[in-house]
């Protein structure tokens, strides 16, 4: 908007500086610097050689890779049928299915992990099947949304054409539909792979030392073994793998992309036998995401195992003493309070910084792109790397901030700001510059003209961004694992701790807390949906 050097109505420098400096400083101080510190302090030739020579490293890398491949393949397979149903047909419950899948996608990773602990018998709850199952439950929404959106727009006449040429339904699917869906499947697969490759919360709850992702191993080395070098090397290995993934995905998509005239989505009413197929696809998808969550609630009501139902776990949430004399290190009720305050602050930080960043990016014109890209970086870096970097950077005066109350919310804001920027930037850019011009011709100085034209339009996307930020903060586990102070545990931390303790009541408490966290997240997602945002994402 202001890139035009011919403009006499440029926003004043002080205003541009006021909106640019805070997000830029935030990025440099809490992302660039910690990341540089991590690399500088951890990466030495010795650490690299040591880490790469270790068998354990390659075991972890191998497990990370194959479980991600298996999870991605299974998610694509499972998601295809519901994607077909929602793309091609209108039926009662269609919107509900999409909302439920989205809500599950936004659920905290620890909650889904806990749900699988609740669902599976204890002989299975630390198996690789639990891990892959949790990944499928999480990411099925990605496949249904991404693939469904394209499928909906594939002209049905292409399939009709195949039919007139003698292809049966299966042949039509294989030789016409599937090839046309390949770019969408690649895109969805890449997203799912990204999430499962860097999976942290699910693995922390459901994995073991032998079944750890690189992300978990970074955490374990840094916090349990004090091996900063090894952790830094692994963090870098993971970054390199993700960069490679981005390159491969782009190449595959270029190669498989076909130009088709996308039709406007026309969804048919199901007829005859189709109804059964749709019922199976939709019912299956519902069951896959709902069963673990139902198990979660059910087990929270069964603190003594098979001995019957009671509210003991819920009632004892407020008591630091489980039995007279027996205290646990986590105070569940306190964790709820901590999570709520943390989420409030994280949302406030994310909204202020994200809105300022959006204003700055649009005001700076071309040079705003650097800020835009910079603020997206934390998303590709993994929360564990961020938390780890902050932990080792802010541990010496004058920046010994480890005991500051605001460090955790700032860490969450780092992950949430991209979502605020993404939901506001598109709207800000779509505002007709002439609206500002209209205000100027009526005597409004540049800043006033700008606020008149832009701010009212940003209210909705800011509300959406705030909801996403709150949901992200409530569920954030990776960075928090490093930054959380003892006595100030957030819900995901408390849940993971409780699950790690022996004793059925502790487990039931973990399930109860997970239920609370899930309910809070779902409530936020519904609110965001009601505001009109439909682009929810999980951190």
């Amino acid at each position: 908007m202001d890139g035009d050097r011919r403009s006499l109505n440029r926003l004043p420098r002080w205003f541009v500086a006021a909106v640019t400096v805070p997000p830029a400083a935030f990025l440099v101080l809490f992302y660039v610097w910690p990341f540089a510190t991590l690399m500088g302090r951890g990466l030495s030739p010795g650490a690299i050689a040591d880490t790469l020579a270790r068998d354990a490293t390659w075991r972890v890398a191998w497990f990370t890779l194959w479980q991600a491949c298996a999870s991605t393949a299974l998610t694509l397979l499972v998601g295809l049928a519901p994607a077909w149903a929602v793309a091609r047909f209108s039926f009662p419950g269609r919107r509900l299915l999409l909302s439920v899948l989205t809500a599950v996608f936004v659920l905290p990773t620890v909650v889904v992990g806990a749900a699988f602990v609740a669902l599976l018998p204890s002989s299975l709850d630390r198996s690789v099947w639990a891990i892959i199952g949790a990944h499928v439950v999480f990411n099925i929404a990605v496949v249904v949304r991404v693939v469904g959106a394209v499928w909906e727009q594939l002209p049905a006449d292409l399939e009709h054409a195949a039919a007139t040429l003698g292809a049966g339904p299966w042949r039509t699917f294989r030789s016409v539909t599937l090839p046309l869906l390949t770019p969408a499947l690649t895109a969805a697969g890449a997203i799912v792979f990204l999430f499962t490759f860097t999976s942290f919360g699910v693995i922390r709850v459901l994995g073991t030392v032998d079944r750890a992702t690189i992300e978990v191993e970074v955490w374990r080395r840094a916090t349990q073994l004090g091996d900063v070098g090894g952790a830094a090397v692994l963090a870098l290995v993971q970054l390199a793998a993700l960069a490679a993934l981005a390159v491969v995905t782009a190449a595959v998509q270029r190669r498989t992309a076909t130009t088709i005239d996308l039709a406007t989505g026309h969804r048919a009413r199901p007829r005859g036998r189709q109804r059964w197929w749709i019922a199976a696809a939709v019912g299956g998808a519902f069951a896959i995401v709902a069963v673990p969550l139902v198990a979660l609630v059910e087990r929270s009501l069964r603190p003594a195992g098979a001995d019957g139902y009671s509210l003991d776990a819920w009632r004892s949430l407020g008591a630091a003493e489980i039995r007279p004399g027996l205290r646990i290190s986590v105070d569940p009720l306190d964790a709820i309070r901590t999570s709520a305050t943390t989420a409030l602050w994280a949302t406030a930080f994310a909204v202020l910084l994200g809105a300022a960043a959006t204003i700055a990016i649009t005001a700076l014109g071309r040079s705003g792109r650097a800020l835009d890209t910079g603020l997206m970086l934390p998303l590709g870096t993994s929360a564990v790397t961020i938390g780890f970097g902050m932990l080792i950077t802010f541990d010496t005066p004058p920046v010994d901030w480890r005991s500051s109350w605001w460090l955790v919310p700032i860490g969450h804001a780092l992950v949430a700001v991209p979502f605020v920027v993404r939901s506001t930037l598109g709207v800000a850019r779509s505002i007709d510059p002439d609206l500002r011009a209209a205000a100027a011709t009526l005597g409004a100085p540049p800043v006033r003209a700008w606020t008149t034209a832009v701010l009212p339009a940003l209210r909705r996307p800011i509300a959406t961004g705030a909801g996403l930020a709150a949901a992200i903060s409530l569920g954030e586990f990776g960075a928090t694992s490093f930054l959380s102070r003892s006595g100030e545990e957030t819900l995901p931390i408390a849940i993971e701790r409780l699950l790690g303790r022996t004793g059925r009541l502790f487990q039931a408490q973990a399930f109860a807390l997970s239920t609370i966290l899930a309910a809070a997240t779902v409530a936020i997602v519904i609110a965001v949906d009601a505001v009109g945002g439909d682009r929810a994402r999980r951190s």
């Binding site: 109505n9 009526l442 100085p445 008149t452």
Partner: protein, 220 residues
């Protein structure tokens, strides 16, 4: 009174205006007539300060405003697509310029009434602007631009998008209003009959893809 002298501007190497000049007397309405791409909207934008020319000056009532930002030029601009503020109702849109000028609430309210009466929209004060018909929106845009009493009113194809009947009726109405208020106005259009209907004088702009500039036409 508006004096535009020796305007030149090029976009991407294409000379759209070259040493182009125009004088508009106080209270006169000049129609700028030309095909699309002839630079008529560009001229309005330069006069309004939304675009800085490569060369040339703009004087309003004898004051050189060439280097002033838009908000200090005392011009009104009626946009082709109105550009009403979607978050404000009709009255708040119309009084926007008065607010910017620091006019008090009582006087604002009186002026809004006056303007809405002028454009035939009495009782529309609290209407949402996204619920207005095409013709109503044009009227609100005109009222909004006239309310602060600008020294020069610029109209950028203000009747585009309306059907022929309404366009003709509204053209007569607006011309009458401009006449009554003795507003100095530049009205851009590509429609010859509209230009004849509204203007005291017509200035034709040649298409200038060859870079020969533009010619000033005779009066009617």
């Amino acid at each position: 009174m508006l004096d535009v002298r020796d305007l030149s501007i090029a976009f991407d190497g294409r000379q759209v205006l070259e040493r182009w000049s125009l004088h508009v007397d106080h209270g006169e309405t000049v129609a700028l007539l030309g095909a699309s791409g002839s630079g008529k909207s560009t001229i309005l934008r330069i006069v309004a300060g939304l675009l800085a020319p490569d060369a040339g000056t703009v004087e309003i009532d004898g004051r050189d405003v060439s280097r002033l930002p838009t908000h200090r030029r005392d011009v009104g601009l009626v946009f082709q697509d109105e550009q009403l503020f979607p978050h404000l109702d009709v009255a708040r849109n119309v009084e926007f310029g008065l607010r910017m000028a620091g006019v008090g609430p009582a006087e604002r309210a009186a002026r809004v009434d006056e303007m809405l009466a002028l454009v035939g929209l009495e009782g529309f004060e609290r209407r949402r602007v996204d619920k207005l018909s095409g013709g109503e929106a044009k009227r609100v845009a005109l009222a909004r631009s006239l309310a602060p009493g600008p020294a020069v009113l610029l109209l950028d194809e203000p009747l585009t998008g309306l059907d022929r009947d309404l366009r003709e009726r509204l053209a007569d109405e607006v011309a009458a209003i401009l006449d009554r208020l003795r507003t100095t106005a530049v009205w851009v259009t590509h429609d010859e009959s509209e230009a004849t209907r509204v203007a005291d004088r017509i200035v034709r702009l040649a298409g200038s893809s060859t870079g020969t500039g533009s010619t000033e036409g005779g009066s009617t």
